[in-house]
Amino acid sequence: MKLDNPYLPKAYKLLDIRQETEIDYTFRVETDIKPKFGQFVQVSLPRIGEAPISVSDYGDGWIDLTIRKIGKVTDEIHALKAGDNIFLRGPYGNGFNLDKFKGKHIVIAAGGTGLAPVKSLINYFYNNSDDVEELELLLGFRDPYNIMFQEDIKKWQKKFHTTITVDNACGIDGTCEGLITEYVKHIKLSDFHTMEVIIVGPPIMMEFTAKEFLQLGVPEDKIWVSFERKMSCAIGKCGHCKVDEVYVCLEGPVFKYSQAKELID
Amino acid sequence: MALDVKRGPVTKNAYRITKVRGKTALRIRVPGGHIESKHLILVNELAQKYGNGSVHLTTRQGFEVPGIDFNKIPEVNKMIRPLIEEIEIACGVEIENRDAGYPAAGTRNVSACIGNQVCPFANVDTTDLAVKMEKNIYPNNYHVKIAITGCPNDCIKAHTQDFGIIGISEPQLEYDYCIGCQACIKNCKAKVTGALTLKNGKVVRDERRCIGCGECVLKCPTGAWTRNPEKFYRVVIMGRTGKRNPRMATSFLEWVTEDTVLKVVKNTYDFVDKHIDKSLVKEHVGYIVDRAGYHAFKETALKGVELGPKAKVAKHLNFVGYQYERDENLK
C-alpha cells in the first residue's frame, strides 16, 4: 500500500479510556502522530465512517482524544475498549502557533468541549511556566457534571488564575454561576499588544465572548478562535469546510478574530 | 439573457411548466366548458402565432395551448384580453389589469356537463352555475377542484372532485293527473333506486329513497310529475384520484339551494386559509380536511348558511376508496 494515499487511515492501539463527563470520554491512543497544539485528526472506524476530532493532549508516543457521543461515528468509538484498534489519519489544521504566544499575557476562554483543543497548550505552559508572562483561564461549562479534566483544572488552579463558570447551579467549590461572558470584565488586562486571547467553544459562545473582549478594547487581531467544522476529507478537497474562500481544514481551524468575523456560513 | 423565469408567478398566470425546455403552455379557463364559438378563432390564432399549431381540450374542459415561449407570455396575455373580458369579466370576476392574463390558476377551471340547456336529463343549468361559481371563487390560488353535473348520472365525474355539485329535482305529483301507467315506476326500478311504487292505481314516491334524478318527470305521459321549480343540489366532497389514496367523494349536503352551494364553497377558502400547511408547495383541500377534521370543515363551511327545510347534512364523512399502501395513512 503506497503511503501517498492521504485518505488512508492507520490503525493505532487504544491505550486507555477515561470518562470526563457523562457524554465525554478521553481516549489515549498509542501513535507516532506528532500533532501541534490545536490540531485535529480524522478518526476512522472501518465500515462506520470518519469524524474530525481535536487532539486534547499529547505526549511521547500517545495522543489524547476527548470525544463527545453525538453522532454515528462517535457512538461507535464510545463502544471501543482499551486494546482495540482505532484508525487515525492526520494531524490536520494549523493549530496554535506557539511562537505567537510565548512570553505573552495569555487569556484562554474555553466553553464546554472547547477546552479539549487548548488543553495541550495549557499543559505546555503549565510545564514551561516561564514561557508565558501570565496565563489566565476562564472555563465555562453548562452544568456541574459536565466539567472536564477536573484533575488538570485542579493542577492549573495552583499556577494560573482560573475561573470556572457553570451556566446554572454551582457545584464544585470555587465555581461561579452564569455564563462566561459575565466574567470577562473581571479579567486583569495588561498592555494589549503583549496580550493574546484564545476563545474556543460553540459558535455562539465564541461570538459573544469575543464581543466582551472587544468591548474591553482588546484588538481583533489579538483574539484567536477555533472553528469546529463538519469535515469530510480534511485535506481541502471535499468542500464541506469551505467558508468564503477559506478552507477551514487548511487555513483553520484556528483563526484570528479579524478574519473569523468575516467567515459567514 | 438566458431564461430566468420565476416559476411561481408564471404558474399563477395560468402558464404550465412543460416538458419542453423554454416552452410553456397557456391554460384558458372555460367555466362550465361552454363558450361562444367565436372565441375559437382567437384560440386558433394564438396556437398558430405563439403555440405549435395544436390545442388540447383539457380534462377540465378548458383549452391548453402548448409550445409558447416563456418570453412571449406578455404578448400572449395581451392577445387573450378578449377572453379575459368576454369570459372571466363577463362572469363577474374582477380583474384589474386586463392585459396581464389570468390573475390566478390554483383553483382549477370549474368544469360542468352541458346541463339543461341541451341535455334532457339535466335538472339545472350547469353552465349558469359554473359562471356564478367562477365569480364566487376566482381568482384564487388554493388547489380546489369544483365540478358541476346536471343529474346523478354524474357525467362530469363529480365523485372525483373536491366539490362535486349534482343538480337534482324534487318531483311533485299532481295526484289526479296520474293514470297508473307505471312508466315512471318501471324506469326507477330498472335505472335508479326503485323509489316509486303503485298504490291504488297511483304512483307513490319514497322520499328517502328518491335521489332526485328527475327521470320520472321525463317519463310521465300526462305531466303528473313536475319539478319543484326551486333548484336543489346534492354536494359530494373531497373525492380524489392520485398516487396514494384514490377515493370517491362522499355526500356532505343533500337538497340544498344554489346560494348554499356557493356560500359553502366560498367559506371553504377561509377554511383552507386557516388550516393549510404553508410548508408544503401546495396542499390539496382533501388532505387539509383529513388533517383538520370534518367538524372543523363543517363549521367553517356552513357559516352564515341557512339550510332549507329539506336540507340534509352529513354527520360524518365516510369515504370509499383504496390505498396503494396499507400504511399510507399511518405516519
Binding site: - | 339543461n116 339545472v124 293514470i179 301507467c181 312508466a183 305521459p221 300526462t222 305531466g223
Partner: protein, 336 residues
C-alpha cells in the same frame, strides 16, 4: 255583436262570468315543463285575461276539462254505491278551432257510439260554452287544414287577442246579456275571426274505401317497432283520444270504503292490452302504432264518417322519438 275591449274591461267581463262559469284556458305553469327550466302550458282555471297563454300552442289539449284525467264513478261505503256530487257551475273553455272540432269526436264516442250515453261525460259536456281563440297562423306541426278542422263556427264567443286588448264576437245570448247588463265598456267593431288557411305540414288521409286488407300486416309498421317506445305521450296529448280504464280501489285506512274510478288510457300506453290471466296482444310497439293510426284515419271514419284526427299536431310536437304521426298517415296513404 263584436266588441273591442281593453284588458281591464275584459277582466271585468270575466269577473262577471266567473260568477256563473268556471273559466278554463291555456295557462303557463312556470318551470313545470317536462324538461328542466321549461314551462308547461296546459288548461287551468283563469281569473283574468293576463293568465291566458294565447300566442303558444298548449302542450296538453283542453280534453282534461270535459274528460278529467281521473274521474270518480262511484264511492263504495261497504256495499252501498254513491255517485259523486256534481258541480253545478257552468264551464267556459278558451280553445282553438282544431280542439273544438276535436270535442266532436268525444261527443260521438261518449254520446253516439252504441245506444247507451256516457252520463258522466254528458253532465260536464252539457255545461260547456266554447270561446274560440282565433287561430290565423299555423304552428309548426299543425295539419288542421289537411284534416279540415281549421274552421268552425261552433262557439259561443270568438276572441282575437292583442297586446292589452281583444276583439270579441259574442254569438251567445246569455254572454251578450252579461256583457251589456254590467255595461262593460267596449267599442263595437267589425270582427269576424279568420282561420288558418295553410299549414307547413301537408297530409292526405287515406281513402277509406280503398284500404287494402294487407295494410295490417304491412312492412311499414316494422320500422315503428324499432322507433316507438310506447310512452303514451301521443295518446295523452291528443284532443281526440277518448280511451280510458276503470278500476276499483279501497282506501288504506278502511278496506270497506273505496271508489271506482276511470283514468285516461291509450293504445300506446303499456298495459292497455293486458288481459286477465296475463295474456296480452299488440305487444310490438309497431302494432300499437298501426292500431292508433288506423283508428285515427280509417276505423273511426268507416264507423262515423269523418276522420278522428283533427291535425292539431300535438302528437308530433311531443313524441320523444321524433316519430311524425302526420308523416305516418301519408305513408299509409301512399300504400293505399
Amino acid at each position: 255583436m263584436s266588441i273591442k275591449v281593453n284588458n281591464k274591461d275584459f277582466n271585468v267581463f270575466l269577473d262577471e262570468l266567473s260568477k256563473k262559469y268556471k273559466i278554463f284556458a291555456p295557462i303557463r305553469l312556470e318551470k313545470r315543463g317536462r324538461l328542466s327550466d321549461t314551462d308547461m302550458i296546459r288548461y287551468g282555471e283563469i281569473k283574468q285575461v293576463e293568465d291566458i297563454v294565447w300566442d303558444e300552442k298548449s302542450t296538453f289539449s283542453p280534453k282534461e276539462v270535459f274528460q278529467p284525467i281521473t274521474q270518480t264513478l262511484f264511492y263504495f261505503t261497504e256495499d252501498e254505491y254513491k255517485e259523486p256530487k256534481i258541480d253545478d257551475k257552468k264551464i267556459i273553455v278558451f280553445l282553438r278551432p282544431c280542439d273544438i272540432n276535436g270535442v266532436r269526436r268525444h261527443d260521438t264516442i261518449f254520446l253516439k257510439n252504441g245506444k247507451i250515453k256516457d252520463n258522466y261525460y254528458k253532465q260536464i259536456r252539457s255545461k260547456i260554452k266554447f270561446v274560440m281563440i282565433e287561430c290565423k297562423k299555423s304552428f309548426e306541426n299543425c295539419f288542421c287544414v289537411s284534416m279540415d278542422s281549421n274552421v268552425t263556427d261552433d262557439y259561443a264567443m270568438a276572441v282575437r287577442f292583442k297586446k292589452g286588448s281583444a276583439l270579441l264576437e259574442i254569438k251567445d245570448e246569455s254572454l251578450n246579456k252579461t256583457f251589456t247588463e254590467n255595461n262593460i265598456k267596449g267599442e263595437t267593431v267589425e270582427f269576424t275571426p279568420e282561420y288558418v288557411q295553410e299549414n307547413k305540414v301537408k297530409v292526405t288521409p287515406p281513402d277509406v274505401d280503398k284500404m287494402p286488407q294487407g295494410i295490417y300486416k304491412h312492412e311499414m309498421w316494422k320500422e315503428y317497432s324499432t322507433r316507438c317506445i310506447a310512452c303514451g305521450r301521443c295518446n295523452t296529448a291528443c284532443i281526440t283520444c277518448t280511451c280510458f280504464t276503470t278500476s276499483d280501489l279501497f282506501y288504506d285506512d278502511n278496506k270497506n270504503v273505496g271508489e271506482r274510478r276511470r283514468v285516461w288510457d291509450g293504445c300506446q300506453i303499456d298495459g292497455f292490452t293486458d288481459m286477465a290471466g296475463g295474456h296480452s296482444f299488440r305487444e310490438k310497439h309497431g302494432e300499437k302504432m298501426r292500431f292508433k293510426t288506423m283508428h285515427k284515419v280509417y276505423d273511426y271514419n268507416k264507423r262515423f264518417g269523418e276522420h278522428m284526427c283533427v291535425g292539431c299536431g300535438r302528437c308530433d310536437d311531443i313524441c320523444p322519438e321524433y316519430i311524425s304521426f302526420s308523416n305516418c298517415i301519408n305513408k299509409v296513404t301512399d300504400i293505399v
